[in-house]
């Protein structure tokens, strides 16, 4: 278990996605181990979201805490299950040489970034859940925090894809002359230019083909849309205190319409 958490740490620090670490054309992480970590982080994040039902219902609804804790990992795993086949197919069509396991590992890594950020927002969510009675505020706060976490995961996905395709190009071309260390620059700076320290840093230099970029953008949009709607299907995560507890609500409306109505009702 500890080993897997260390793997998560490597991903977050960007060690797993350095150009030197991606040499084999794939991201080397234990997919199963990280999936376990993702589930645990999701349980933690969902647990914090569910606190609202303890402090704003009489009697407290503990089932909602359990439901929220289970639903957050489920949300991400189901989104992955729905989008993975098409992501792989379009990726292959776009001309990337990533294999099926590589794409899967890449998505797991990006998801672990999202869930690490989301779980770290847990104390903030829990604090507001305890001290707020306003349901609309909690919904919008959670949408914002999930949005930030998702965005960071997608930036990670995009940057890692970019790096992987750089490696792809490098191996396709004849070996480049090794970079001469510039005497005028310090070691940290020259390393920073060739091999970025952070997981989200942009690697300068090569420009990708237009169609590959288009595929990447589609990845992002599809992933975000499916994730948002999946959250809507799995609702309630917070639980409107005026309504009785249910595990799942009936099918109606959609995510974006609901967010719009929640903003309208915030100050009423």
């Amino acid at each position: 278990m500890w080993r897997w958490i260390k793997e998560l740490d490597r991903v977050l620090r960007g060690e797993a996605t350095r150009l030197s670490a991606l040499k084999g054309g794939t991201i080397r992480i234990p997919a199963i181990g990280l999936t376990v970590v993702i589930v645990l982080l999701g349980l933690l994040a969902g647990f914090c979201v569910g606190w609202f039902a303890i402090f704003n219902r009489t009697p407290p609804e503990y089932r909602q805490v359990l439901a929220s804790a289970l639903k957050v990992p489920l949300l991400f795993l189901l989104t992955l299950a729905v989008t993975f086949p098409s992501l792989y197919v379009f990726n292959a069509l776009g001309g990337s040489r990533l294999s099926l396991p590589s794409v899967f590992r890449l998505l797991i890594a990006a998801m672990s970034v999202t869930l690490a950020v989301l779980a770290s927002f847990g104390p903030i969510t829990a604090f507001f859940a305890v001290s707020t009675e306003n349901y609309s505020f909690m919904v919008l706060l959670n949408v914002a925090l999930f949005g930030v976490a998702g965005l960071l995961g997608l930036v990670f996905l995009l940057q890692t894809l970019h790096r992987l395709s750089l490696i792809d190009e490098m191996t396709a071309l004849p070996p480049l002359p090794s970079a001469q260390p510039d005497a005028g620059k310090d070691a940290a700076q020259s390393r920073g230019q060739n091999d970025p320290a952070g997981a989200l840093d942009r690697v300068p230099g090569h420009v990708l083909g237009a169609h590959v970029k288009a595929v990447f953008r589609c990845w992002i949009v599809v992933f975000a849309l499916v994730g948002a709607q999946m959250a809507w299907v799995l609702r309630p995560f917070i639980g409107d205190p005026r309504l009785p507890f249910v595990w799942l609500r009936p099918r109606q409306s959609n995510f974006f319409e609901a967010v719009f109505h929640t903003i309208q009702s915030l100050f009423r």
Partner: protein
């Protein structure tokens, strides 16, 4: 005691702690002690509005414990996200220094508050209006927060010079801290204590959301 004053002086001047590299935990604990002492001093003075006779002495005790609680609570709630964001942006190696800068800024804030406490006492002695007392305290907190900002930016300067990413992270920290801090201040009311009411640690029915309250006020003014 002299050592204590010496360290407080170093903190205010922004002199780097000589034993920061060798004993990081000890330095952090010392800074946290400044935070608690400075906050408690100001809080105690802030709670004297209703007087110190009889049960009103409890308001002094409550306020003295609430000011450090406000800062430490906000700090601890915001810290996990900030840690993950620092890691993700590739500056995890600097986090020890970042942590010291954050705690030192809050300790500096409370020392400034403690130094301003005589003004509060003077104001209470010369004006008995409850609303004005709250306003005056709010003003002093604003002054102390500006001093804390100044402190934080000074401590961040070498970090930003090493990696410009720290500038962005500093802004992220301020957003996180203020966002949580406003709500924390709202939840922990009353700080001054209405003299016509019996002292309480937390006001009954005071839970709620500061942002929603302010938003409703603005909304009601706009739609009047």
């Amino acid at each position: 005691m002299t050592g204590f004053a010496l360290h407080a002086d170093m903190l205010l001047r922004g002199t780097p702690e000589p034993d920061a590299a060798r004993r990081p935990v000890r330095v952090l604990l010392r800074l946290a002690a400044f935070l608690v002492i400075g906050g408690a001093l100001y809080g105690a003075v802030m709670g004297t509005f209703g007087g110190v006779a009889g049960q009103h002495v409890w308001q002094v005790v409550f306020s003295a414990s609430k000011v450090p609680l406000l800062l430490l609570g906000t700090f601890l709630i915001s810290l996990p996200s900030f840690f993950v964001l620092n890691t993700l942006l590739g500056v995890r190696g600097d986090f020890g220094q970042v942590l010291r800068a954050l705690v030192a800024a809050q300790a500096g804030l409370t020392l400034v508050l403690a130094a301003l406490a005589p003004y509060t006492a003077f104001w209470y002695a010369s004006c008995g209006d409850y609303a004005l007392a709250i306003l005056f305290n709010g003003g002093l907190f604003a002054v102390a927060s500006l001093a804390g900002q100044f402190h934080l930016r000074r401590a961040y300067r070498p970090l930003v010079a090493r990696n410009p990413r720290h500038r962005l992270l500093l802004r992220v920290w301020l957003v996180l801290y203020v966002f949580v801090g406003v709500q924390m201040g709202w939840v922990l009311r009353p700080f001054v204590g209405d003299p016509s009411l019996p002292p309480q640690f937390l006001r009954e029915g005071a839970w709620g959301n500061a942002y929603v309250v302010v938003g409703r006020m603005i909304w009601s003014v706009l739609t009047r």
